[in-house]
């Protein structure tokens, strides 16, 4: 049984799996956060104008701004969850690769 061959085979497949499952995650998170912050700026500007021009009372203005900040926190938690789900998928993928490689090796 050639363990180096098995090891290299597993490492190669795991690296490919990592790239597929986790590779695009960073760019996706950065882009989503950037878009959200740009949209937030426009929203908060509109609410501030409404508050300054006495269209809305102070407590409603504060409620809107605080909810927007809460929404950002919610999005961060979703992103964290998505990353954990992808890590779970990655773990399952690694497990499958190792089991298949071991099964082949003992044939």
């Amino acid at each position: 049984m050639d363990f180096d061959q098995i090891k290299n085979d597993i490492f190669g497949q795991v690296a490919a799996l990592a790239k597929t499952i986790l590779g695009d995650r960073k760019d996706e998170i950065v882009n989503e956060t950037k878009a959200f912050l740009e949209e937030s700026e426009a929203e908060i500007k509109a609410w501030t104008e409404a508050f300054v021009s006495l269209k809305i009372p102070k407590n409603e203005y504060e409620m809107l701004v605080k909810t927007r900040i809460d929404l950002l926190k919610m999005k961060a938690l979703t992103q964290a969850g998505m990353t954990l789900i992808q890590l779970d998928n990655f773990r399952q993928g690694v497990l499958d690769i190792v089991v298949k490689a071991a099964s082949k090796a003992i044939l």
Binding site: K55, L64, M74
Partner: protein, 132 residues
Amino acid sequence: MIALHDPVSYRTALDLKVDFKFLVEASEEQYDSKEADVIKFRKAFEKSMAYEEGRYRNELTVEQYQIMADIIKRFVDTWKENGTISEFTRPAFLKQSQAAWDEIIKLERAKRTEGIKLKIDKTAATSAQTNI
């Protein structure tokens, strides 16, 4: 690792999202006339939060529910204090709060339907056993 997908949680979050939408829309009317609806909604929300807290490895969703509890409390307090919510604020707040519900729904929908387990290649395993 994270909790597995739960259809009950998913359905409940969708129902709460819609019920909260009706509540925000109702805030054009005096709080006192809608207080019974507010109480009913808060009871349903608390029940579903307790359910989420009881789920294994569900910390992220529980945190999202805690943030949602703050959003709901802030809204109810403002409505109570002002009597009604202004025409400008209602749609703006509705958009923010519905997006917050969507985050809970999005995370639940994305969760795996089964846990990590060994997927043994049956053909290889059978051949291996025959060779022993």
